[in-house]
């Protein structure tokens, strides 16, 4: 992974990087970007609804904050994932000296890296849920001319939340009953429900 942060790349360069054979940027970064786009759409609809909805300015401020948080996680997710992969490879094929010297300390360090790699997609999932929630409110109260954009925002946010929750659940072998697993699933469900409510209302 090169040193240039993803947010500093052109969109073309980032899309090329997603498609390249390297593991990073991968699914987590794509999920974060999706949620960031959704939050941006919510901000747009809220900004366009100032004349009809008194909460619109405050909702726009919240959407921009969610966008800021999600976009920052694009890079961190890739870094955390690469560190976890490196640690997993080293754990799978340790040198004799490594085992002799580090033993339990190595296991602890691996556990910490896996924890961090799980924490970031969990945060992406939770931001996705909040963005979907905000999109639903924007669709309900905002300018009707922009309702379709609010629906798209809800759908994207739900997709990003679902993708991130999947990463928490599957890629890192989360333990049954782990509280973070429950949180990830709750975020996925909340985001899906918000999106479905919006789409059902216009059918």
């Amino acid at each position: 992974m090169d040193d240039e942060r993803y947010l500093d790349k052109s969109l073309t360069a980032f899309l090329d990087a997603i498609a390249a054979r390297e593991r990073a940027p991968g699914g987590g970064s794509a999920a974060a970007l999706t949620v960031a786009c959704a939050a941006g759409l919510v901000a747009m609809v809220a900004r366009s609804s100032r004349d009809v909805w008194k909460d619109a300015p405050g909702v726009a401020a919240q959407a921009l904050t969610l966008q800021d948080r999600a976009s920052a996680l694009m890079h961190w997710d890739a870094e955390a994932w690469e560190q976890a992969l490196d640690a997993l490879r080293a754990a799978a094929d340790p040198t004799p000296l490594d085992v002799e010297r580090n033993g339990p300390r190595r296991d602890f360090a691996l556990e910490q890296k896996l924890e961090r790699a799980a924490a970031i997609p969990l945060e992406i999932a939770e931001i996705g849920a909040d963005t979907a929630n905000l999109a639903a409110q924007t669709g309900e109260h905002g300018d009707l001319a922009y309702r379709a954009d609010a629906c798209v925002a809800a759908a994207l946010a739900a997709g990003g939340a679902r993708a991130a929750a999947h990463l928490v659940e599957v890629n890192l072998g989360m333990r049954i009953g782990d509280e973070r697993l429950a949180r990830a699933r709750a975020s996925q469900t909340a985001a899906a429900e918000a999106a479905e409510t919006m789409h059902a209302a216009i059918r």
Partner: protein
């Protein structure tokens, strides 16, 4: 949850003006010192990591050094009302020294200048935070949790025991109250001069 006596004490200290707080610290009031640290910890932290973009280890060193010097030299402060600009100036100076020691910068060069520019935004943020203290406590809490502490609507709902579907609108309305509070003040929020 804190006991009611502790909560009342903390609440009283948090309403003290900076000058009063300085007086109590000089008198050896440990709780007053704790309040001083709490009151300025975000400011010092922001100047180190956001203003001057110090590495984490260097930022921690500067953070601790700032409060160590404040503690040691509080008796030399001539104008107790000037506590904040004094702490700000001290923090900026120590950040520049840290950049120089790490070999990243010589004083006066662009990185130090950019740090000073970014601290103007931090001073503006402090003015907003001051205005926030005039809002109902529920508003202060919800705004801080969402914007400064990155808490989700679900977490805010659970910890403040509020319906989840109302969090976003509550935040929006509290933000509106904050804007009105700032508009009502005689002077707009400005960066403090050095």
């Amino acid at each position: 949850m804190r006991q009611s006596g502790d909560t009342l004490l903390v609440s009283r200290l948090s309403t003290l003006a900076d000058a009063e707080l300085v007086g109590r610290c000089r008198a050896g009031d440990a709780e007053a010192w704790n309040e001083l640290v709490e009151r300025f910890s975000r400011y010092v932290y922001a100047v180190t990591v956001r203003g001057f973009r110090l590495r984490a280890e260097d930022a921690e060193d500067v953070f601790q050094e700032v409060f160590a010097r404040v503690y040691t030299h509080l008796h030399t402060l001539r104008d107790d009302d000037a506590l904040r600009p004094w702490i700000g100036q001290l923090t900026r100076r120590l950040c520049i020294d840290s950049l120089a020691r790490s070999g990243r910068e010589q004083p006066g060069e662009p990185e130090a200048e950019e740090g000073r520019d970014r601290t103007a935004e931090i001073d503006e943020a402090m003015a907003v935070r001051d205005a926030m203290t005039a809002l109902p406590e529920a508003c202060q809490e919800i705004l801080d949790r969402f914007f400064a502490r990155d808490q989700s609507y679900r977490t805010i709902s659970s910890e403040l025991e509020l319906p989840a579907g109302t969090i976003a609108s509550r935040i929006a309305r509290c933000l509106g109250k904050l804007r009105e509070e700032l508009e009502g003040r005689t002077e707009p929020p400005t960066a403090s001069s050095e």
